[in-house]
């Protein structure tokens, strides 16, 4: 196989991954392209278009039930994992620090704002990674970066705008460690499932 063909297949692999197709579907597409290029000797861009363009065509042609996650599923999955990881780390670290785990109105507001901005940033970065036009990639990428910077800034701003207020709930250190560890275990299981789903299988 020519070096240019291998490079094309690598770029196509990455482009397909950004659309979050299952590993089985990615393997199928790569096998079709590789087989065709080996048989014809054709230039891959001439035969299939640029990797990003072909990945977008492949995804557009797929019906919903064929190894393609919808945008809502992708964002929902990322959001759920993010929330569980955020609270898992927060509870576990506070518990391990020895004190009770307390949550105040400031914590609730800053957590909510942080998670919404991180979610927006992730969604914009995903759109940037799968956009075919360079100007759209730039716009979404810049939007994602702005959202993430705003998330970082929000942590400091929340304490100035919201009164500390009464404690919303309090957990003993052991409770914080147990709940934090349980949430992080769920995150590990979700990530393991995602890795298994994403494993590329060559069908040949």
């Amino acid at each position: 196989m020519k070096t240019s063909d291998e490079k094309y297949l690598e770029e196509l692999h990455i482009a397909l991954r950004w659309h979050d197709l299952s590993g089985a579907r990615v393997g199928e597409v790569l096998a079709e392209v590789e087989t065709h290029l080996n048989e014809t000797g054709e230039d891959p861009v001439r035969a299939f278009g640029r990797p990003r363009e072909y990945a977008a065509l492949v995804v557009d042609a797929l019906p919903p039930n064929s190894g393609k996650m919808s945008t809502a599923e992708k964002i929902g999955g990322a959001f759920t994992t993010g929330v569980l990881a955020y609270f898992g780390v927060s509870f576990l670290s506070r518990g391990l620090a020895g004190g009770a785990v307390t949550y105040t109105p400031v914590d609730a507001v800053s957590s909510a704002v942080l998670l919404v901005l991180i979610l927006l940033g992730v969604a914009l970065f995903l759109r940037s990674a799968t956009a075919v036009e360079a100007k759209n990639r730039r716009s979404y990428g810049i939007g994602g970066a702005v959202a993430v910077l705003a998330a970082i800034a929000s942590a400091g701003v929340a304490h100035r705008l919201v009164d500390e207020g009464e404690t919303l709930f309090e957990l003993p250190a052991a409770g914080g460690i147990a709940i934090g560890a349980a949430l992080l275990l769920v995150v590990v299981v979700m990530l393991a499932k995602a890795i298994k789903r994403g494993k590329v299988v060559d069908p040949r």
Binding site: E28, V29, A31, E32, V33, E34, T35, H36, N38, E39, T40, E42, R46, A47, F48, G49, E53, Y54, L57, V58, D60, A61, L62, P63, N65, S66, P203, R204
Partner: protein, 117 residues
């Protein structure tokens, strides 16, 4: 008319008939794989056929249950993915093929009258 406009119009014609044409070719040959299907479409006069157009279509037809696909080991080489019509695909071709050819006949008649004027 610019080359881009001509090419865009031809792409529209192709989009309107390519799936039925692929079903028809598979009905003719029983089964086939991507590369030779591409050659047969080009030889039949379909303009600017590319692998990047055909393979997503074949996979969509498979996902819709109109064709089935199977990887088979090649003789001394990597495998090939063969496609064949399913009964449902045969049914769609039998029903929509005649409808399309009637539509095409009517369109040809209108255009030929206009061109002769």
């Amino acid at each position: 008319m610019s080359n881009k406009a001509v090419s865009g119009r031809r792409a529209q014609w192709l989009r309107g008939v390519l799936d039925l044409a692929v079903l028809a070719l598979l009905a003719e040959s029983g089964e086939d794989y991507g590369y030779t299907l591409l050659q047969r479409l080009t030889e039949a006069g379909f303009p600017e056929m590319k692998a990047g157009t055909l393979y997503p279509l074949l996979n969509r037809l498979a996902a819709d249950g109109l064709v089935r696909s199977e990887w088979r080991a090649g003789e001394g080489g990597p495998g090939r993915k063969f496609f064949a019509l399913t009964d449902e695909g045969r049914g769609v071709l039998s029903e929509q093929g005649p409808q399309w050819t009637e539509f095409a006949r009517n369109a040809i008649a209108v255009l030929e009258r206009g061109v002769r004027t």
